[in-house]
C-alpha cells in the first residue's frame, strides 16, 4: 500500500499537502465555519443597539435562537472528532450554513438594528421568532389540521390515481372511456374547482379533502398510465413464457417497471397538493396553516405571517424529503442509472 503511494506522484502530492501548514487553516475551513458565523451573528445581535422604530419583544428571542444554533454547532463539531461521516458532512455543508447565518445577520441589521425597511411589513427576527414561540399552541393545532387534510386527501388521490392509471394502462375499454375525461379534467388546476365544490360538498372540510385528492390524482394517473405503456413489450413476453398471467402482468411487471414514471407523477402531485391545500384553507377552512397565514395578514400581524410561512416551508420540506427517501428505497434498482 505505502509503496503504491510512493510510486504515484498524485498520491505523494496529497500526502505532502496534508502535512503543510495549511492544516490548521483547513481545520477552520472544514469544521469551524458554522460556529464562526453563528458567533459573529451573536456578536452583531447583542452589541448593536436596536432601532427604536421596531416594537420590543418580551425576550430577545433571536438571541436564544442563535444560542440554540451555537449549541448544535458545538455538538456537531464534537461529533466530527469521532465520526467520519459527520466530518465529511460538516466540511461540505459548513460553508452553506455559515452563509445562511450571515444572511440572517444582514436581515437582522436591516430590520432590527437600522429599521431601514418599514417595520410593519418587515418585522425584526426577534419578533418573528417570538411569534412562533408565543403562538405555538395555535400553530401546532393548525399544523395538525393541515396534516390531516393533506394526508387523507393525498392518500385518497394517490390511490385513485394509481387505480385509474393502471386501468388506462392495461384495459383498452377503460382507456377508451376514461382517457378523454382525464385529458379534459386533468389540466384544470384543482383550485379552479373551489367555487363549485363549495356548493357541491356538504362542508368546506370535505370539499378541501376532495380538492387535495384531485390535485394528486391527475399527475399520478397520467404518469402511471404513460409509465405502463412505456414498459418494453419484451418484459411482458418474458413474463408470459415464465407462466405469468394477467394479474402478474399488472402487479409483478407493469407497475414495478413503471415505478420511475409513477414517482415523477407522485412528486408533481405532491407539489400540486401543497398549493391546493394552502389555497383551500385560505378560502374556506377554520384552522390550518393556510388559514393561519391569511388570518394573521388580515390582522396586520406580519411577524405571525412570517412565522406561519416558516412553519409551512418546514412542514412541506419534511414531507418532500420523506417522499425522496421512499423513492430512493423503491428505485434502488436504478440508483446508478437515473438521477433526478
Amino acid at each position: 500500500m505505502t509503496s503504491d503511494i510512493s510510486f504515484n506522484p498524485q498520491g505523494a502530492a496529497t500526502l505532502q499537502s496534508d502535512n503543510y501548514p495549511p492544516r490548521s487553516l483547513s481545520f477552520v475551513r472544514n469544521r469551524m465555519l458554522p460556529i464562526i458565523a453563528v458567533l459573529l451573528a451573536l456578536l452583531l445581535q447583542t452589541q448593536i443597539p436596536k432601532a427604536p422604530a421596531q416594537p420590543k419583544t418580551l425576550h430577545p428571542y433571536f438571541t436564544y435562537f442563535l444560542l440554540l444554533a451555537l449549541a448544535l454547532c458545538v455538538v456537531q463539531l464534537t461529533l466530527s472528532f469521532f465520526r467520519e461521516k459527520t466530518r465529511r458532512k460538516l466540511a461540505y455543508k459548513g460553508l452553506f450554513v455559515a452563509g445562511v447565518f450571515l444572511f440572517l445577520s444582514l436581515l437582522n441589521i436591516l430590520t432590527s438594528k437600522l429599521a431601514l425597511l418599514p417595520p410593519l411589513y418587515f418585522p425584526s427576527l426577534d419578533r418573528i421568532v417570538a411569534a412562533i414561540v408565543e403562538d405555538r399552541a395555535l400553530l401546532v393545532k393548525c399544523v395538525l389540521y393541515s396534516l390531516r387534510l393533506q394526508l387523507v386527501g393525498y392518500f385518497c388521490g394517490l390511490l385513485a390515481g394509481l387505480i385509474t392509471g393502471t386501468l388506462i394502462g392495461f384495459s383498452k375499454s377503460a382507456s377508451y372511456w376514461i382517457s378523454p375525461l382525464v385529458r379534459v379534467l386533468g389540466p384544470i388546476p384543482s383550485t379552479t374547482w373551489i367555487p363549485l365544490t363549495l356548493i357541491a360538498f356538504p362542508s368546506a372540510l370535505s370539499a378541501s379533502f376532495f380538492l387535495v385528492a384531485l390535485a394528486v390524482w391527475f399527475p399520478t394517473t397520467i404518469m402511471t398510465s404513460s409509465g405502463i405503456s412505456n414498459v418494453p413489450q419484451t418484459y411482458f413476453e418474458a413474463g408470459s413464457t415464465l407462466g405469468a398471467r394477467r394479474f402478474s402482468h399488472i402487479f409483478r411487471i407493469g407497475l414495478p417497471a413503471s415505478m420511475p414514471h409513477i414517482f415523477l407523477g407522485i412528486f408533481n402531485g405532491t407539489c400540486a397538493s401543497f398549493i391546493t391545500l394552502v389555497t383551500a384553507e385560505m378560502v374556506g377552512a377554520r384552522y390550518g396553516i393556510g388559514w393561519y397565514v391569511i388570518w394573521q395578514k388580515d390582522m396586520m400581524s406580519y411577524s405571525n405571517v412570517y412565522g406561519g410561512l416558516i412553519i409551512t416551508a418546514t412542514l412541506f420540506s419534511i414531507l418532500i424529503s420523506l417522499l425522496f427517501k421512499l423513492r430512493d428505497k423503491a428505485l434502488l434498482w436504478q440508483k446508478d442509472v437515473v438521477k433526478w
Partner: protein
C-alpha cells in the same frame, strides 16, 4: 449438489411439430409473408439451430412456437398438444437478455417459480445460479452484471421452470468471441445434463455446427425451409476438424455465400 437440480430429468418430452405453418403480418406497407408452409419435426431432446439471412423469419418461427405471435396457417404442437399461447413449458431466451431490471438476479430467476407457487423458490433459484456460475451475484441487479452474466441469468431463469423446450433467439449475438465460445460450452453442458429440446436462432454458422444435432436453413421472403443438415460429429466437437469444415462449406453454399468472396486486389 449441483446435479440435484437435474433430478427431475424429464423422459422424452419436448417434441415440437410444425405442420404447414404460415404467418402473414399485416402492416401499413402491406402484407408481409414472414413464414410459408413450414413443415418441421424437432425430436425431443435434440439441439436444433435455425440459420438464415436477416429478415427471413427466424424470430417469427420461434415466437410462433413460444405462442407469443399467433400464426395464420397450419398448426404447432408440443408433444402432440396444440399450442395456443405462451406458457412456461417453452422457455424463451431473448437476444437482449430481457431480465427484469427492478428485480435482483435471484428474484429474476425465482420469478417463474413464484408464479408457479413453488415453495423454496429462492433456494431453487440459488441452485440454478450455482449451475450457471452466478453464485454470489444473487443480490446484484442486472445492470451491475456483464452481458454474458446476464445471458446466463436468463438461461437460469428459463431452465428453472423445467421447460420441455427452450427457444433461444440469438442468445449469444451480443457477446464477444471469447465469452461466446465459453457460453456455447456452458449451454451445451446444461443441455447434455437435462436433454431439454433446444431450438436456437443464430447467425454464426460455426456456432450452429458446433452445437446442434441438426441445422435448419431458412430462405427469405417468404420464409421457407431451404434445407436441413444433420450434423453427425462426435461431441465435444473440434472446430478445425475436416468434417466440421466441410459442413461449414455445405451450409455456406446453401446460403449462397461460398465462392462469392472476392480475392482482394492487393495485400498490405
Amino acid at each position: 449438489m449441483v446435479n440435484s437440480a437435474y433430478d427431475s430429468l424429464n423422459g422424452r418430452r419436448g417434441q415440437i411439430e410444425l405442420k404447414n405453418v404460415g404467418k402473414k403480418y399485416k402492416t401499413n406497407i402491406g402484407e408481409v409473408h414472414a413464414l410459408s408452409d413450414i413443415n418441421l419435426t424437432i425430436e425431443a431432446g435434440s439441439y436444433v439451430s435455425l440459420i438464415g439471412a436477416s429478415g427471413c423469419g427466424k424470430s417469427t418461427m420461434l415466437r410462433v412456437i413460444a405462442g407469443l405471435t399467433p400464426l395464420t396457417a397450419g398448426s404447432v404442437t408440443l408433444d402432440g398438444k396444440e399450442i395456443d399461447g405462451p406458457g412456461s413449458d417453452r422457455g424463451f431466451v431473448f437476444q437482449e437478455h430481457a431480465l427484469f431490471p427492478w428485480l435482483t438476479i435471484r428474484q429474476n430467476v425465482a420469478f417463474g417459480l413464484k408464479e408457479a407457487r413453488k415453495q423454496n423458490a429462492n433456494d431453487e433459484a440459488d441452485k440454478w445460479l450455482e449451475i450457471t456460475g452466478l453464485t454470489g451475484f444473487g443480490n446484484a441487479f442486472p445492470h451491475q452484471l456483464s452481458g454474458g452474466m446476464c445471458q446466463r441469468a436468463c438461461l437460469a431463469r428459463s431452465l428453472a421452470m423445467n421447460p420441455a423446450a427452450l427457444l433461444l433467439d440469438e442468445p449469444l449475438g451480443a457477446l464477444d468471441a471469447f465469452t461466446r465460445m465459453y457460453m456455447q460450452d456452458e449451454i451445451l453442458r446444461v443441455w447434455e445434463n437435462r436433454k431439454t429440446t433446444m431450438l436456437m436462432v443464430t447467425h454464426d454458422v460455426d456456432e450452429a455446427i458446433y452445437m446442434s444435432d441438426c441445422v435448419v436453413l431458412l430462405s427469405p421472403r417468404p420464409g421457407r425451409i431451404e434445407k436441413t443438415v444433420e450434423i453427425e460429429l462426435p461431441r465435444p466437437r473440434d472446430r478445425n476438424d475436416d468434417r466440421f469444415i466441410s459442413y461449414r462449406k455445405t451450409i455456406l453454399e446453401s446460403l449462397h455465400f461460398a465462392g462469392f468472396r472476392r480475392e482482394p486486389d492487393f495485400y498490405i
